[in-house]
Symmetry: C2
Subunit: 435 residues, 2 copies
Amino acid sequence: MVRGRITGLAVSDVRFPTSLGHHGSDAMHPDPDYSAAYVVIETDARDGLKGYGLTFTLGKGTEVVVCAVNALSIHVVNKDLEEIVSDFRGFYRQLTSDGQLRWIGPEKGAVHLATAAVLNAVWDLWAKQEGKDPKQLLSCIDFRYITDALTEEEACGKSSFCQDRSPYSLSCFLFQWDYSSSRALLFKYSKMAYLGRRKELCTEALKDGWTRFKVKVGANLPDDIRRCRLIREMIGPDKTLMLDANQRWEVKEAIEWVTKLAEFKPLWIEEPTSPDDILGHAAISKALAPLGIGVATGEQCHNRVIFKQLLQAKALSYLQIDSCRLGSVNENLSVLLMAKKFQIPVCPHAGGVGLCELVQHLIIFDYISVSGSLENRMCEYVDHLHEHFKYPAIIKKASYVPPQDAGYSTEMKEESARKYQFPQGEVWQKILSKP
Amino acid sequence: MVRGRITGLAVSDVRFPTSLGHHGSDAMHPDPDYSAAYVVIETDARDGLKGYGLTFTLGKGTEVVVCAVNALSIHVVNKDLEEIVSDFRGFYRQLTSDGQLRWIGPEKGAVHLATAAVLNAVWDLWAKQEGKDPKQLLSCIDFRYITDALTEEEACGKSSFCQDRSPYSLSCFLFQWDYSSSRALLFKYSKMAYLGRRKELCTEALKDGWTRFKVKVGANLPDDIRRCRLIREMIGPDKTLMLDANQRWEVKEAIEWVTKLAEFKPLWIEEPTSPDDILGHAAISKALAPLGIGVATGEQCHNRVIFKQLLQAKALSYLQIDSCRLGSVNENLSVLLMAKKFQIPVCPHAGGVGLCELVQHLIIFDYISVSGSLENRMCEYVDHLHEHFKYPAIIKKASYVPPQDAGYSTEMKEESARKYQFPQGEVWQKILSKP
């Protein structure tokens, strides 16, 4: 039973000073402080349950998202949870289509990241409260602007494309997860390693059972060639190599550059250019297909309309959803279903703060209830900052282990949320007091 | 001579309670309070000049953009103006590619609106300080991600597409405007009327010399047919009728709906669907072309990469730039030049708060230095809130009159900025104190 009226929504600016150690940096983001706008919602249900949600950020700008969360809170506070989830699509649209707030998006940028944080908290709370009828899942999706690619009827399995495996075939997405029966199936979701320049990292990763390796490219071609050669030699011909350009290139430049790396047989080139450039990605995909190299993108694609077009234009071969940039589970469901229809594997973006904790739920749902396949599917994993979460993602034999606890795994340890709060937390007080 | 170090950047949340009179409302934005994040920059140059900039918003969410402006201010304060304008492209990229802030865009949503407000203020200050060498104009554009559509060389006029009229052919964009010689040319930039349901409005507009009329559609087909018939009968067959759907429709729905309005010979359908849907707009354009109806969009298109694709995909026949959603003059220049290359007329979005004041500079530049044509070109005008500006746009015979004062016409009257500040200003204190 869903219960309670939401009596409070608190949001805080939690930042981890990762730039001090240059963790997670890339060519476009040289000094990120991995951060989160962290949302906690409370109800009057007297069951002690709270909903925790977040969106991932890189330090500066978190305060902007916090401000946007506060602006959205009028649509959340004083609502009955029952009222929200019984018309979750309507609630989604209320958040994304507020007649005034909409202008500063719509459905993109800070206000959409804020929507994700709020909705992630609602899903966490809902999931904690009960196992629900999965038939409600489709009613959480706002199909606005994507019906030319996917209609609700098709998604229901009334149409042919997903009759083999209706989204209704499993009743436990996020809820009451049956760990014992599913673990074996999911072990194949391998993690990928971010490789720096050091050879040792690769050796160590191979020893730990890693099978897929990602190399950052785009800054310097001779150096890229040198590193790709090194890694390919170390991992041998059978393991998977992927390239990530973090949006460095123009369209033609991407094609020329990656062509020169083709000899190392990469599976994909990730984020070759602007995440907004659907036609650019299509041109790159077309040019690289004869070389056997796919295009992957999505971590900065801002909503379902962009993903729809990437699929329609055959602009990618691997689709990388993000649990915090899209409007939570609601919008990610629509993308999973479209990917199924267009037969493109979903390989979520993760890492950051809490992204692995969140997307593990989405890959499991995709596998069990939508795609029914592990072929060419994988989920990013970075071994970083999990210690701050109450229910951290667990990796065994280089694979995600299905989460056992109810909820969306988004709750931080109280001490972490307090210590790392920006700028009041003790960690930041110490850093900021230095001359 | 450009002079001075920027010593301060102040931003305020200025809101006009337009929702009380339902001004400017449409199907997607039923109750806007026309507002602005309003930026003032000061220097130590002792010339008394300040730069004023703004971005238009709809009320709620302005505080989010204000927060984003504050986040950007570290890139502005303590910079020499000379340093900024001598590498304006670099400065633009610094604002849009901050390694941490970038994540909450990139180049979209609240942080890009904030970029526009800041850069609008810089252009205002620069323009006030001096008439500058127009050869510098191209060096303000960041061509990143659009070189497959337009290179700097092409924009320079070295390539064929703009040899007839190089962007360098006039030296007075924003600066030292020669009013007497240009007014006649520009009178043809007619304004468009927003028409409500009342017949009298139309009669009055015709009497005032208006030649182009826009009707909001999309909520109710029989009502749309009734109103379009009424207006077409009143304005006769020779005047121009345009339709605006404010993103109401799915792709197929747009085609079907507009087909049923074709008998009224509209010039265009504006914003038929999501502003992110390039392929959707292309499908609608293709379907409506045989009916002689073009597609117009742009007021919520968030950056040059979206406009590039709309042009590449033949998705529009009329391109509606926005002076406050794109990254100020810098990014709008890139769009004007691409529109020239693809031979699509630019018809800016205006109205709002200060948009008419800003875009009048852009249409003049487009006409004199880029397109060299008035054919099918027009600029929106709404007779609203101009009284709050120190240098309001002036309309004569239903046409914009070129501005005579140096600067970007963005300065508000001090009293207005003070009274309408949210929530401290006296206007809001009065409204908010009501039970």
